[in-house]
């Protein structure tokens, strides 16, 4: 599977993080979709990405709730979620909401790419 067919969905309320992370993943050949607000669940359903990078604080919306909704929905439950936060307790939070992985901000490029590669939904599992 070519990387440009792999869709990564980034949900983060910070424009700088959305912009910089999108540019990096775009450079690495991924197809990137972003969502800065609470419309994440609907947007994920619309685009059906291969992985969701999900922040916790989304300006009035809690990323934990979004993760739980995505995992409770038959259509979206197989989409891997990687929690994406500056909170150092992110490992525990990711486990609580049944997310597949987590990345602590600020992140290093190898760490970001390795985590995506590890959890991204493969063609066979779609």
């Amino acid at each position: 599977m070519k990387k440009n067919k792999i869709k990564i969905f980034i949900a983060d309320d910070d424009k700088g993080i959305i912009d910089s992370t999108s540019l990096i993943l775009d450079y690495e050949g991924y197809h990137v979709i972003t969502s800065p607000d609470g419309e994440t669940v609907q947007n994920v359903k619309q685009h059906m990405p291969d992985l969701v990078l999900l922040d916790i604080w989304l300006s009035g919306i809690n990323g934990r709730d979004i993760a739980r909704q995505l995992k409770a929905d038959a259509i979206t439950k197989s989409i891997p979620i990687v929690m994406f936060s500056a909170n150092r307790d992110i490992q525990k939070i990711a486990s609580e909401v049944q997310a597949e992985g987590y990345i602590i901000k600020p992140f290093d490029l190898p760490e970001l790419l390795a985590t995506i590669e590890k959890h991204v939904r493969k063609e066979d599992n779609k």
Binding site: D14, A86, P106
Partner: protein, 288 residues
Amino acid sequence: MTMKRKKKIQRKYIQDDSRSAVLTEGLGHYTQESTEKLFIPEKRSGVAPKWHRYKSTLKSKDEFLEFASHELKTPVTSIKAYITLMELYASKDSHEQASSLLPYIKRVDSQVNKLTTIINDLLDVTKVQSGGLEFNFEKFIIDEVVDEVIDTMQLTTVRHLITKRGQSTTYVYGDKERTSQVLINLLSNAIKYSPRADKIHINITKGLNSVSVEVQDFGMGIAKENQQKVFERFFRVDGKYKETFPGLGLGLYISSEIMKRQKGKLFVESEEGRGAIFCIELPLYEEE
């Protein structure tokens, strides 16, 4: 209590509350919760309200620091990501000028990493005090953590060669990430406080009930009277080296608290002028 006295105390609290509101402006629901606690009914002795106010102020300060540390990390994440992009483009660009920028980009990245460590320390110190430091206990092999930490820290020094001696493939029980954080702190200190030495040794020993990891430097050492004080919050180097080393004096305090929470130990052996050995001990994993 007379009405006159009661009104006087209430007025004082309201004044304090207004100062607190200005101080914590922008904290949203945190402010409301914290300031409300200033209005706990006072007792005749006057001791209880003061204590509540003190606790409330501490809670408010800790929450503010936690919130501020989290907020600081958001722009740092973007800066680091943009640096990564610059590095990617500069390394692929065939123009000599672009590739000549690479060493400077790496230096900016290194400075951002230092900033991240400071922010993390501030966040951790507030959590240590409030008892909110989270741990994920599991069994792990400490050799693997030591190897990862050496790989990371060797990149931060060109002067020192970090060498591992001994090994233990036995499982210990603790938090792998937090143990890694402690070892990074000890190695950072070893590098920082031995600026003229060219080696650092990591010695791993398996004991009867624990595994110990020593970080040995060959630097300035620590005077006997300061060997316990180095684990205190905000302790800074004293004597002839006073105000010659940067830092907040939080790393060893946080490391010491982390080791206590893991039922482990952190201690130091040193002779001034002849280097120091910081040793951590973690309990062995016991099958249930």
